[in-house]
Symmetry: C2
Subunit: 219 residues, 2 copies
Amino acid sequence: MAEDQKKRRGFRRAPADRRRVELMEATLRIIASRGIEAASVRAISAEAGVTPGLIRHHFESKEELIGAAYAHHMEVLLRACVDVLEEVRDGPVERLASFVRRTLTPPVTGSQEVQLWAAFIEKIGHDPKMRQVHMDSYREFRQVLETLISAALFELGEAASPIRIGQLAIAVNAVLDGLWLEGSILPEQFPNDELVRIGLQSVSGITGVPLVQKDVAKQ
Amino acid sequence: MAEDQKKRRGFRRAPADRRRVELMEATLRIIASRGIEAASVRAISAEAGVTPGLIRHHFESKEELIGAAYAHHMEVLLRACVDVLEEVRDGPVERLASFVRRTLTPPVTGSQEVQLWAAFIEKIGHDPKMRQVHMDSYREFRQVLETLISAALFELGEAASPIRIGQLAIAVNAVLDGLWLEGSILPEQFPNDELVRIGLQSVSGITGVPLVQKDVAKQ
DNA sequence: CTTGCTATTATACGATCGTATAACAAAGGG
DNA sequence: CCCTTTGTTATACGATCGTATAATAGCAAG
């Protein structure tokens, strides 16, 4: 008969940077799939395939892990965005249109993305670090939009002042945020690529950059 | 010397409806001011001036209380919105403009409002009841917008099809959502009534309804 | 092969969570 | 004035939370 030997779980050592990323991404998966309330240190560590204690070895607190995961997520999102822009060989107008399309179609849209986003937004009201992460990522997104809009207007011979470019970027960012949100939460309300069509049409209306054929846009 | 008599706390009885509303509003205050994580049954009951057990006498679970609070909040918000519209004696175009202004200024904007909103949105991904509340309130808001936009376009002699009205309402709702969000989270980025100006300008661009003087809008 | 470092596991602790249950008391009707 | 009803308090329980601490073991260096 087997003696009741306590077998200690085997493991592999990983460099700190790698393990930190694994833990952050496990955190994101848990929040996205089961909500922020389910994101306990035990659930996260189980998702990452490690034991709970390891979290506090790599992060000072659960709060710091959440904040780091937020920053990591936004970084990945922005990187994907910039990479997409560099792929497009077309002119500035088509680049702006591509950006709109990419923003309003999966995998950028999706209920899990919204759940992640909402969970983080809820914290920025009472967590200065989360607020700072939000401000940084928001500013970077806006700068990308300003570049796109400025280039598109310049190509059309309607170059605008930096102040106006900034206003347009805010407005476009807002409409994209809102459409992304509604399209992600209630996708069944937007058959096919209606979301994209409304987005292109709205951005056209705001900036004056023609992104859709007008006869099609009217109906 | 006084014997250590355990004095039972005095209280007043309230009709069930009244008490339920008190508990829901206490819940909203807690979530808005301290976040969803702080909204424990103990914190909520303390805020409402009662003991924790009472919550489970009026609600089957904390989850049900949260859902009821969400529905109550959206109901109050929509009611305030409709009341505002009924006050305005101006024409359809000015009514639409008033609606935009009201949406993008306090007390509709505000970090606490965002915190409430984000806390609820985060739940609709894994809570069918919260999802239903969202769908209902979203639909009602959209219908109000459709009415406003339709009337404004009709007055301008540019009456549009119901399908197009629906698309416009979605787009306007999206841009208002996005601007409301950003203006509420980072109010310092929008001095004075710049948020309102961008909103009016964007809604004009989307719907074609002139809500701003063009010379002012350009700079 | 041995040694040292530290990433990782194992275990435990106190706090707080949502919930269950029973005693108490406020309010209205006989 | 008593009695019934039920809104309300008081208390307790088990589960789970984030965190602290010590033991273990992977892995590179010597």
